[in-house]
Amino acid sequence: MSQIVLQTHSISKHYGTTCAVDNVNIVIKKGDIYGLIGRNGAGKTTLIRMITALTFASSGELSLFGQTSASGLNAARCRMGSVVEIPALYPHLSARQNLEYYRKLRGIPNKSAVDEALTAVNLMDTDKKKFRNFSLGMKQRLGLALALLSNPDFIILDEPTNGLDPMGIVEMREMIKRLRTDRGITFMISSHILSELSLIATRYGIIHDGKMIKELTDAELREKCQRCLSIKVDDTKKAAVVLETVLNTTMYKVLSNNEIRLYDYFDNIAEVPLALNTHGVRVSALTEINDNLEDYFMSLIEAVTPANGGKKDA
């Protein structure tokens, strides 16, 4: 069984009468890149703030590396790096000075840790430039360097591509992938852009109005969002034989209700009903399904949203 890095048990956060996070249960295992998806105000940042000790849960339990007590959680947080919202460092210090400050603060004896972190995010050449003069992209990278400083096992990034240009987004994505592969770091990344997360995440949690409405793996998401042909036939067994022997494809799935989903032949759709009809399979309907990630996300949100719209903003 994979080691569980983070687990929440019915964790909730209330601000007065507003429920920002409502009985959320998540499990993040070692090696995951866990994408936390939700619209602005869905409760992503509040959940992250509870994990990072910037606010406290109203109820429920948090377990980090198996630790649940206050002191145990603090000890576990030493194995964690995080950037919550916009990276906030000392504006009058350079990148190196900021990291050196945090190295001393965390009692990291390895003095080369600062250089290693700066190298990992390509910020070695900023010299004496003050943090306040950094571009947003540089700030995001320095935030990641800070998260990497203590050689953590787990990193939490809250909207890490906010404000980045397309090049910066690609760089950030590659950096995260590389860190996971090279150092085995587990990530939790929040974003409101599913298509962006879908390029790196291995598991997803979709949060809406403070509630976790769906958790799924990357494979499950791909399946849900894969382009396919939905073919209604009178005999699915016979149709399957035709697909394999005549059209030479195994990229299909037989569903109930005489439906077959074919994930092939998009370039020559007309050939499919023709082949089926020729071999005695009657096709009653053929539809191209092309749910993209955003459509899927929206359909999930719509399914849990009352007809009169959202209920609150957290």
């Binding site: 910037l54 206050a70 995080s82 009058h92 603060l105």
Partner: protein, 277 residues
């Protein structure tokens, strides 16, 4: 906690603002030493100063002032210029800003607390560092007159137990009371998490109580008793003591203690569960 203090010292000495604050502090201290309470330049207009030993009645009112001639020299300079320490509460304000309020203003406190450092540890590290800074600045106030006086007029005496005891009697309570007021500044920093709020409230709290009580006294003399509870005035009482501690020392120390305890308990109660933005 030691790591936080070490890291903060590293950080604040990489800030231009701290060097400017230190320069202003040293300049004002030197000017205060070179220009006596009468506004005369030492070495040009006078070469000695007369201080008064205060004799108090049982009710704490001043009975008699006994003039004590003190020759200007390095040894006696701390007695002559003990009255400059009441400015310390203002000169120390930039250090509270750099050490505590900036963490909240910049949001850097998020990185500290999310890295596994407990709020208690963080809170008491800041108090400890401010105690260290207050003591260091107080030491400058004590030793700078000695150094300048010695350079200008020679040391002029010997150090003995009586001398050290007299110095301690004036400067230790002042340090204690100054730190008590610094604790109020720390409380404000943790409560409001804003540099602007700290500056405004800190300065207002040092001035407003005296002004309000002075207005109240116009209506009823009884309100004069409240002046005993104004910490800024208590600091002044010690700074003007001129070589002997006033009889209400225990009361002043108790007031300082109350300020400290309320600030520390109030600060930790507010901070331990506070939302960190």
């Amino acid at each position: 906690m030691r790591n936080i203090i070490k890291a903060d010292l590293y950080r604040i000495f990489r800030s231009k603002g701290v060097y400017i604050a230190l320069a202003v502090f040293l300049l004002l201290t030197v000017l205060q030493v070179l220009f006596g309470a009468d506004g005369l330049v030492i070495g040009v207009m006078v070469d000695s100063d007369i201080r008064y030993d205060v004799v108090y009645n049982a009710d704490g009112t001043v009975s008699e002032l006994i003039p004590q001639e003190i020759t200007m020299n390095g040894r006696d300079a701390p007695f002559i210029f003990a009255d400059v320490t009441d400015n310390l509460i203002y000169l120390i304000l930039p250090f509270i800003v750099f050490i505590v309020a900036v963490d909240f203003q910049s949001g850097a406190v998020k990185n500290i607390l999310s890295s596994g450092i407990s709020r208690y540890k963080y809170f008491f590290a800041k108090f400890s560092l401010m105690a260290l800074v207050s003591a260091s600045l107080m030491a400058v106030y004590l030793f700078l007159p000695i150094i300048l006086g010695t350079i200008l007029y020679g040391y002029g005496g010997e150090i003995n137990g009586e001398y050290i005891s007299a110095i301690a009697e004036i400067y230790l309570p002042q340090f204690y009371l100054v730190f008590a007021y610094v604790c109020v500044g720390l409380f404000v920093s943790f409560a409001f998490k804003s540099v602007a709020a700290l500056n405004t409230i800190y300065i207002m709290l040092s001035l407003l109580p005296t002004i309000i009580i002075a207005i109240l006294i116009e209506y009823n003399e009884w309100y004069a008793k409240l002046l005993d509870y104004v910490i800024v005035l208590a600091i002044k009482t010690f700074s003007l003591a001129g070589g002997s501690a006033p009889p209400d020392t225990p009361k002043a120390l108790m007031i300082g203690g109350i300020y400290m305890i309320f600030s520390i308990i109030g600060g930790i109660l507010l901070f331990r569960k506070a939302e960190i933005k």
